[in-house]
């Protein structure tokens, strides 16, 4: 439970930076939260010295999220279409096997 308005600008920059850097570990959700959480700070609040840096982080986080979403959707479409045709690899990658009905 943190309120961004209660923190000093340096702390906000620190949090934003940590979220941004941690998102590189295959964590687009972190980037998404970073972008949404700091959106107001980056664009809607009066400028303060660290705001420019926060703005770059937010923009890059948003772009990163979009890229990841595209990757995930593409992979899922590929998997759903080619699952039965991939042979053993398809079975290996499947997490749950759908039950047949009778």
């Amino acid at each position: 439970m943190v309120s961004l308005s209660k923190k000093s600008p340096e702390e906000r920059l620190n949090i934003c930076r940590k979220y941004y850097r941690a998102g590189f570990a295959f964590l687009p959700l972190l980037w998404l939260i970073n972008a949404i959480w700091f959106y107001k700070q980056a664009f809607k609040v009066e400028p303060y010295p660290q705001q420019a840096q926060i703005r770059t982080y937010v923009i890059r986080s948003a772009i990163g999220t979009l890229i990841w979403i595209i990757i995930i959707v593409a992979w899922n479409i590929t998997f759903q279409l080619l699952r039965t045709k991939m042979g053993p690899l398809g079975d290996f990658l499947t997490f749950v096997y759908p039950r047949g009905y009778y």
Binding site: V2, L29, R83, L93
Partner: protein, 496 residues
């Protein structure tokens, strides 16, 4: 074990001061407020043992408010007092004080309803849609006796044995937690907390997804599942143990409580479950209210040391433990022992297999959480998550900004969430919506009453007993008396 702690435990003088200070815009923060950044923000999973601690800490800070005139830097409630000291007491009319009491009660109750209801909703929806979360599957290390017995007498005996074994785990976990807290082994508690949430977030989430996927009957690939689990788990660790946006934190707490409740529901045999619910309520009552009760000792120790309750495992509706811009450097890790599930401490069992150990740990962690908040006295099983303590922010001081929010408000332990959800899950197992709704309403009424008592008594209270009693009474009476009665009335077309 769940305790609702009324952070606003001010003496009447302080109240008037508080009321008066609301007219002021001065906000004093900084050196008087302890730095709480190093406290984990959310440790919901800690079962009840932790919950109580939290509440006790909150209570401690709250009560220190009334004790001390001077500003104690360790007591960040004094900052409020400091602010309020500027105005003379006589100017506060008494009716405002009463207004504050009532206002405090109503808004907090409503704020607590939403997360509790959400948690129950998640549990019930999961149970109804998936078939793997039904009880009677594998046996559990905590309740080793099965209930497949031929006679009822035998069944009751074995259920009682299960219950006592379970309670033994819980009590041991609580006691260990308290010992750790007394001897200031904060690092151990902290590490344990992190381990618990780690296990909870990743392992239980993974099994949850496997159940959901199996019931949906769609093929999902391993890569996507691992990716989703990794994302949700990592973000959860961030939000809970470090800083994160408040709604996300609350959502994680609710979700963790729901997961734990599902695990409990799956592994508890039928009669054992009911007995455990009853015995835990009694234990909660004892541990919180008796002078020698472990949770009470925890609260008082935390109070003496002027430390805050471990915020992890507490559900807070407001910004709790906010770090202000000019916080002084942290004095020491302020661990609220509450957060740590005493149950967690008990989990070292090399003989169990991995899964059992994990579950045990999960339960322990959960228990710790429960303690903090209303569930203060249930240090029980570590795997039980403590009900998130819901911290209700006092909305009656609009002028005072968020700094006060942390200190005010009711905290509800995560353990309470979990046990409420378990009760409702068992009530919904019959498939009869009458029973489910009756139990739901009774739980909420119990919560209201507990909050009312909290507002009047202003001390840490267990949140479990009243609600669980109402729930149990209503469940059995609805199933055996009211259900057939309404069916008969319906058949005979008699409308009352």
């Amino acid at each position: 074990m769940h305790r609702l702690i009324d952070d606003n435990q001010d003496s009447p003088d302080e109240m008037t001061e508080l009321l008066k200070s609301q007219d002021n815009d001065t906000i004093i923060d900084g050196p008087e407020r302890p730095n709480i950044t190093n406290l984990p923000d959310v440790a919901i999973i800690q079962t009840s043992t932790d919950g109580e601690n939290i509440s006790s800490n909150a209570a401690a800070t709250a009560s220190s408010h009334s004790r001390v005139e001077a500003i104690d830097p360790q007591d960040h409630e004094t900052t409020h007092r400091h602010r309020r000291n500027e105005q003379p007491d006589e100017q506060r009319p008494l009716n405002i004080e009463h207004e504050e009491i009532f206002k405090y009660g109503a808004s907090h109750v409503v704020k607590l309803f939403v997360p509790v209801s959400l948690c129950m909703l998640i549990v019930i929806i999961t149970i109804k849609t998936t078939s793997s979360y039904t009880p009677g599957g594998a046996t559990w290390a905590y309740t080793p006796f099965t209930e497949d017995k031929s006679t009822n007498t035998q069944r009751i005996l074995f259920s009682l044995a299960n219950t006592f074994i379970f309670m033994g785990f819980v009590i041991t976990a609580t006691v260990i937690l308290i010992l750790l807290y007394k001897f200031k082994c904060y690092k151990i508690i902290h590490g344990w907390l992190i381990l618990t949430t780690l296990m909870l977030l990743f392992f239980f989430l993974y099994s949850y997804f496997s159940s959901i996927s199996a019931s949906l009957n769609r093929p999902i690939d391993m890569i996507t599942i691992c990716f989703i689990t990794w994302n949700i788990g990592a973000v959860g660790m961030f939000c809970i143990h470090w800083k994160g946006p408040l709604p996300i934190q609350q959502a994680y707490l609710i979700f963790m409580s729901a997961l734990l409740a599902l695990v409990f529901y799956k592994f508890l045999p039928d009669w054992t479950g009911w007995l455990i619910l009853g015995v835990i309520s009694i234990w909660d009552l004892i541990a919180v209210l008796c002078p020698k009760g472990p949770l009470r000792i925890l609260v008082e120790t935390a109070h003496e040391r002027g430390e805050q309750i471990f915020p992890a495992l507490i559900y807070s509706s407001t910004m709790v433990y906010m770090v202000t811009a000019v916080d002084p450097p942290p004095r020491e890790p302020q661990f609220a022992p509450d957060n740590v599930d005493t149950n967690m401490a008990v989990n070292v069992d090399e003989t169990l297999n991995e899964e059992q150990r994990n579950q045990r740990a999960a339960i322990r962690n959960n228990n710790a959480r429960r303690q903090l908040i209303p569930r203060s006295d249930v240090p029980q099983t570590a795997t039980r998550r403590e009900p998130a303590r819901y911290v209700v922010e006092r909305s009656n001081s609009p002028v005072i900004d968020d700094d006060d929010d942390d200190e005010k408000g009711v905290k509800l332990g995560l353990g309470d969430f979990i046990f409420y959800s378990i009760l409702l899950a068992k009530a919904s197992a019959l498939g009869d919506w009458n029973v489910t709704i009756a139990c739901y309403v009774s739980l909420l009424i119990g919560l209201c009453l507990t909050l009312l008592l909290l507002a009047i008594i202003r001390k840490a209270l267990p949140a479990l007993p009243i609600s669980i009693t109402f729930g149990l009474v209503l469940y059995f009476s609805t199933v055996y008396i009211i259900g057939p009665f309404s069916a008969e009335l319906n058949l005979g077309q008699v409308f009352i």
